[in-house]
């Protein structure tokens, strides 16, 4: 077993991890930063974000406006002090990216172009065509080369955190191309491992989005917060789940059911806006939770179409014209052509909701610090308190910049004061982990990692989807418990050391099962409907602020179950009210 010493270990090389690395490198040029990623950083799933990143930009916009949209969009479950900090710092972070070379789309005069996005009352979404995440990731990755104190360990997979007396002392990782184990001793550790969308069957996420960091922290006693809030993106391709950006609707795209009817007007988002004249917060520019829920109702009513056995509705972009599409949505044109054989300038794109984002995650304070001293978490794996019960599109790319910066700075300052690890106990623990790894190797059996994973994703889709009820979730929990038993019995048949991808998948499945359990347990305990968590049980179909204006905290018990408790939401200025979209009477009066 190799041993490496560093000051800060960052787990994950996506947007949040890279931003944190740069922030730490700038905060303290003497600080040694080790960036571990299970893939080359530019493969991280930030790469697939399409639409854009939000910040108050135009003269008519205000911090108050972005704050209100975020809090309302999150159905009042966001921590409002965190939202305040976020909206105040988003712009400077997007400017940082600009100054590092991000090819933001521009207006004729050379200033930054902003586009409409769902749930936002004005245009404030910066974009780089329809590959914003790709450009942010590559800009950050390439910029990170400038800092000699950032050392990368590409294709290293973290097996465990090393914790001593409630303080982080490092991580245990495996180098994929040698199978060699590495103890990496660090004074601060930042988890930036992304979401867990792959625990669901139909999702927009890459294969690497398996909830690793969430499970690592959870197993060490850190609470996972608000895990019941899983975002379905309303427009994924049927079958694959490939993401078709919300920017399509920001640019004026409309959604049609099988009868060619703009059904969103029936779900509190109307009246219908004229073709080619999208209005903020109306119809197709409503928030993601509402749009995905509308799809569910249309499906129940038999008004969805069929695409190779999948229920679908249709995204119509034809009226935008080929030139505009090529300029603003070139990647969407490429994806539609390659994966559903549709030219969006000429035909409708079949789409359906797909799991996209985990609003919840590792509980942190506003400085990204977890309950373990020196352990930080940031980005989709974390719950800093920004998104509440439903994230607005284009807030997450800004989040990973704003809070990546915070996490990097905090980790650097913590590393300065932390003491070195107690070697012997860490050594012993790592030896045990190595034995556990060896114990996973065995003979091929009838059961397989792939089979268990497949059943987990179907159970989650079935029991913990867009609409949920008690019986369905109980069934889902029972299935997960059964799968957990099977998981304990299934071995890795590949005994090779070099790129043993079966072994890595075994670990990832273990992480996924824990995260899935926390999600369903949190969902079952929340006996109300709020944001992305919708119950169809009697008496739970409405928001219940009296009982549930609270964050859920899932804690792993010794029996492997999740125990759920609650924590107050921090409210500074916006009292819970009715979420209004479209031109509801009260808004119409104001106009």
């Amino acid at each position: 077993m190799q041993v490496l010493e560093t000051d800060i270990a960052i787990i994950g090389g996506g947007g949040a991890g890279l931003r944190a690395a740069i922030a730490a490198a700038e905060a303290d040029p003497a600080c040694r930063i080790t960036l571990l990623s299970k893939v080359y950083p530019m493969r991280s799933h930030t790469v697939a974000a399409e639409g854009g990143a939000a910040a108050v930009t135009l003269a008519q916009d205000s911090m108050q406006g972005h704050f209100e949209d975020t809090v309302t969009g999150g159905d009042w479950l966001a921590d409002q002090d965190v939202v305040e900090y976020f909206v105040q710092h988003a712009y400077e972070e997007l400017v940082n990216l600009e100054r590092w070379g991000c090819p933001w789309s521009r207006r004729e005069d050379g200033s930054i172009q902003v586009r409409r996005f769902g749930g936002m009352k004005t245009e404030r979404t910066w974009f780089a065509a329809d590959k914003t995440g790709f450009h942010i990731l590559h800009t950050l990755f390439q910029t990170s080369f400038k800092y000699p104190n950032i050392q990368r360990l590409d294709e290293f997979f973290v097996l465990d955190l090393l914790v001593h007396e409630q303080q982080i002392v490092g991580v245990l990782a495996i180098q994929l191309n040698t199978g060699e184990l590495y103890q990496i001793h660090a004074k601060s550790v930042i988890l930036a491992t992304g979401g867990a969308g792959r625990v669901f069957h139909h999702n927009t996420n890459g294969g690497i989005v398996t909830g690793d960091g969430m499970a690592l922290a959870y197993r060490h006693g850190v609470a996972l917060r608000d895990m019941e809030f899983v975002q379905y993106h309303p427009t994924g391709l049927p079958g694959s789940g490939i993401l078709i950006t919300e920017a399509c609707r920001g640019e004026g795209g409309i959604l049609l059911n099988r009868d060619g009817y703009r059904y969103l007007q029936d779900y509190g988002l109307g009246p219908q806006t004229p073709l080619g004249k999208p209005e903020n917060k109306c119809m197709e520019l409503g928030p993601r939770d509402k749009l995905s829920q509308a799809f569910w109702h249309e499906q129940q009513q038999g008004r969805t179409g069929d695409c190779q056995g999948h229920a679908v509705v249709y995204l119509d972009l034809r009226h935008l014209g080929e030139r505009h599409l090529q300029q603003r949505l070139p990647f969407i044109c490429e994806l539609a052509k390659a994966y559903v054989n549709v030219d969006p300038a000429k035909a409708l794109i079949p789409i359906r909701p797909a799991v996209h984002y985990t609003m919840g995650g590792i509980l942190t304070d506003a400085q990204c610090q977890t309950s373990i001293a020196g352990l930080f978490a940031v980005g989709e794996c974390a719950s800093v308190g920004l998104h509440g019960a439903n994230r607005l599109g284009s807030n997450s790319l800004s989040e990973l910049l704003v809070f990546g910066h915070v996490a990097g700075k905090q980790a650097a300052s913590f590393a300065k004061t932390a003491k070195a690890a107690a070697r012997t106990e860490v050594d012993q623990y790592c030896q045990q982990q190595q034995q556990q790894l060896q114990a996973k190797l065995g003979v091929k059996s009838a059961d397989s990692i792939a089979a268990i994973r497949h059943e987990m994703t179907l159970a989650m889709e079935q029991g913990c989807g867009i609409y949920r009820d008690t019986a369905g979730m109980q069934q889902c929990l029972a299935t997960l418990a059964h799968l957990q038993q099977r998981y304990q019995q299934v071995f890795v048949s590949d005994h090779s050391k070099v790129f043993n991808t079966e072994l890595i998948q075994h670990y990832e499945l273990g992480f996924g099962l824990d995260v899935a359990n926390a999600m369903v347990s949190s969902a079952l305990a929340r006996q109300e409907s709020r944001g992305a968590h919708q119950r169809i049980d009697e008496g739970m179909q409405q928001r219940n602020d009296e009982r549930f204006l609270q964050h859920s905290l899932a804690q792993l018990t010794e029996q492997g179950a999740a125990s759920i408790r609650y924590q107050p939401v921090r409210i500074t200025q916006s009292k819970p009210a009715v979420r209004r979209y479209g031109a509801e009477p009260s808004q119409q009066e104001q106009r």
């Binding site: 521009r106 694959s240 390659a338």
Partner: protein
């Protein structure tokens, strides 16, 4: 429908050299090479090793040789092949295992060209950049680092020290950016023997680029810049 994939297997802990293995996979019109590999790994042989993630042609992980041509597995469809389909690790890189190539030399080359904005202006406002200025380099900024162009490049095959199409394109991307002042720092790399002049303009890199960003054009624009740099160097006092 069913098709046969012939996969070049290689496990350095057991094999002296790669050997073919046949797998039959079910497929329809939408099945990609990546889907087929995932089917094999999940249903037939969990030891098959390959890289993948986004399955939407943006992360750049799943480059492989399909019937001898570098392709992204996720954007190559079985429907386009009549007979058996041969899948191998990317050419011109060392193979680590099965379909996994050693990409470290590629990463080294990318880093060598200083692919970041070099600009000493520290005002906290965004630069102005018109759509026209953006268009000058925008195409070259779309490289997904999949490495297919290196597998297509005969020069890189002969000389792994050649910076290669993607790295030279990336250098050109920053040199053409109106916000950048770092061209002088990048030119020594580009002018060197492993820079733009290593390219013999075969152009296969542009044929295989899954994002159609024409690395051959970038490299040859780089030659013009390099020549101009040389001429200016002669006349400079």
């Amino acid at each position: 429908m069913q098709k046969t994939l012939v996969i070049q297997r290689y496990n350095p802990e057991q094999d002296h050299k790669p050997h073919p293995q046949h797998f039959t996979v079910p497929c329809d019109d939408s099945t990609s090479v990546l889907d087929a590999l995932l089917y094999i790994q999940q249903q037939l042989d969990p030891t098959l090793a390959f890289r993948w993630s986004c399955r939407m042609a943006i992360c750049g992980s799943c480059g492989v040789m399909v019937n001898g041509i570098p392709k992204l597995g996720c954007k190559t469809f079985l429907r386009d092949y009549k007979d058996d389909i041969t899948v191998e690790a990317l050419a011109h890189f060392a193979t680590e295992k099965d379909l996994i190539s050693d990409m470290s030399v590629f990463l080294t080359h990318l880093q060598a060209v200083k692919p970041y904005l070099i600009n000493h202006d520290t005002r906290p406002q965004p630069h102005q950049q018109t759509p026209k200025q953006l268009a000058k380099y925008a195409k070259f900024s779309n490289c997904i680092n999949c490495g297919l162009c290196y597998s297509a490049c005969p020069q890189f095959g002969l000389n792994p020290a050649f910076l290669g199409p993607a790295a030279l394109t990336l250098a050109q991307r920053y040199n053409l950016d109106s916000r950048d002042q770092g061209k002088a720092q990048r030119m020594p790399q580009l002018n060197g023997k492993n820079g733009v002049w290593g390219c013999t303009f075969v152009g296969f890199c542009s044929d295989v680029c899954p994002k159609q960003l024409d690395p051959a054009a970038a490299v040859n624009q780089g030659k013009v810049a390099s020549a101009a740099d040389f001429v200016i160097g002669i006349f400079k006092p």
